[in-house]
Amino acid sequence: MSYPSDVVEVSQLYKTYRVHRRPPGVWAALRSVLVRKTEAVQAVAGLSFHIAAGERVGFLGPNGAGKTTTLKILSGLLHPTSGTVKVGGFVPFARDPGFLKQITLVMGQKQQLLWDLPPSETYAMNRAIYEVPKAQADETIRELTALLDVGDLIQKPTRQLSLGERMKCELIAALLHRPRVLFLDEPTIGLDVSMQAKMREFIRAYNEKYGAAVILTSHYMDDVTALCPRVIVIDHGKLIYDGDLKALVRQVRPDKRLTLRLSAPVERAVLEKLGTVVTHDQGLAVLSVAPALLNGTVQGALSSLPVADLSVEDPPLEEVMRELFRGKTVDAAEAAGRPAAGDAA
């Protein structure tokens, strides 16, 4: 089922690659000149989902799950083997200019900036290609350079910029035409922690200001936790979860993390009476506690241990993902009250 506000509609999407395989060695190399063995690799297998305007969605899965392939299909770079895909009302692989003006795809490891020229030249080129009125382009550049704290870096040749500076300038180039749908593939890869945080703030600000949909893949779970209320999880090209991030965490790892900062050493055996010890260091202990036992455990800890500080959190998303890909499939409807799109169709 699709809704009027959906900007991304994917139904029963399949993508199969034909891959040439040969064993190592000279003999195999010579034989492959005459006989080429190819095999079909299914990258996406029956994926269905919808994304509404203004949503921020994390697209998660292990390496080779089909995330990047799906993003490339959504952005019109790849032709699907079968299934239907619509983005902003367009069929992406037709690559209609009207479609391309509504989207952007940022790939953390690839760049569109002209290497030997300042980013401002790429912006001038993009302005002409996307037919952005000069006043609007100038306003967007002013606004984005201020948000990202880029200053006059856009006048320095790209090759003289650091990775973080380049990524910021890349984002400006990618957003100059004010796209309605942002496909972000590992946008913070290789950046230091503070730069990652800056990028996240920026993506959120853009989403909130322009109401643009954001579809994000990242191996940094902090990106996903900070930005995406909803996640779509795929594995081997199949949807295994589509729904609320917190609900996913609750279902896969319902236990809570109780972090205790201790003012004096405490024996591990004492901590084990309160819950499962995840880490135990000199002045720090992290316990895993079932939600039903949490109140009692907190009270017990406060009354019997030298607690200087205490916090309760969900388990890290990395752990949730590890648990999930250990073979446990989540029922999205049960977890989030929202049917996975494939089921709904």
Binding site: S75, R95, D96, P97, F99, K101, Q102, E208, G211
Partner: protein
């Protein structure tokens, strides 16, 4: 949360992907693309000069034929004719050649073609602009050699007749487009085979002989010259060069011009067909 409206659907959404719409879009974008392209060429000036210096085969051939012609003319070619032929050939080649095949092949195999495909301007329009932007620098480099050619062998050049000059200029434009679409065709082979550059090198070998780049066609064995004149290689170099040096009269040049533009149409069709089919197969690995 305040949400700023992103405005009405962009221009392309109303225009659709019609050919006319795409041409209009390209025409509006071209002044900026050419300006940025020229800035790139200037930024890569050292690489550019090195490339020019490596295109020295005509000078080697000129030295050889100049020596041979010391004892008397070779067919219709005296020493001054060889000077006009090889200096003119060098200049025409620099102005009309594009090495798009390297770029396309590398971008297709490396996945970096994705950046071009994501932009709402056909990648071939953008690539054409990028290569056209190199023309002013090339003309600048070629100018002293052209002046030298006029000083040494000006009386051998036929372009004082404005009609011949017009055909020659049209032939230069035709040669540029023919080579560009041939490069699109060869470069797009990288969508299908791993060795598009190998195919290009084969093409380069044929071009050197059949275009008159190494030896004037009329000095080749008759049967080779006949094949060459029927092939598109003639339209790429021999036709404009022989028109410039007066070896092809106005009537023959006009006939060659018609053949040349027919080849442009054929190669444009072939290049775009391979490109379109290739894009469907594009896997964007690594990009």
């Amino acid at each position: 949360m305040s949400v700023t409206s992103l405005g009405p659907p962009p221009r392309g959404a109303r225009e659709g992907a019609t050919f006319r719409g795409a041409l209009g879009h390209a025409a509006r974008a071209y002044p900026t693309l050419l300006r940025v392209g020229l800035s790139e060429v200037v930024a890569y000036r050292a690489e550019f000069i090195v490339w020019i210096l490596t295109t020295n085969m005509p000078f080697v051939m000129l030295a050889i034929w100049h020596a041979v012609a010391a004892d008397g003319a070779v067919g219709r070619f005296g020493r001054a004719d060889f000077v006009a032929y090889y200096l003119g050939g060098w200049a025409i080649r620099l102005v009309t050649s594009t090495w798009l095949v390297w770029e396309l092949s590398m971008e297709i195999r490396g996945g970096t073609l994705s950046t071009r495909l994501l932009r709402p301007l056909h990648p071939l329009f953008a690539l054409a602009a990028q290569h056209m932007a190199a023309l002013p620098m090339r003309v600048l480099v070629v100018s002293p050699v052209v002046v030298a050619m006029f000083v040494i062998a000006g009386d051998r050049l036929a372009v004082r007749d404005p009609r011949v000059l017009a055909v020659f200029l049209a032939a230069l434009v035709g040669a540029w487009f023919l080579i560009f679409f041939t490069m699109v065709f060869l470069g797009s082979m990288a969508f299908f085979v791993e060795s598009a550059i190998g195919i290009f090198e084969l093409w380069l070998g044929l071009h050197a002989i059949l275009s008159g780049y190494l030896v004037p066609l009329e000095l080749l064995p008759r049967w080779v010259a006949r094949i060459a004149r029927l092939s598109p290689f003639d339209s790429m170099l021999a036709f404009p060069l022989e028109t410039l040096t007066g070896k092809r009269d106005l009537t023959a040049a006009l006939a060659s011009l018609a053949v040349q533009w027919a080849y442009v149409a054929v190669m444009a069709f072939a290049g775009l067909t391979v490109w379109r089919r290739g894009v469907r197969r594009y896997v964007a690995f690594g990009g």
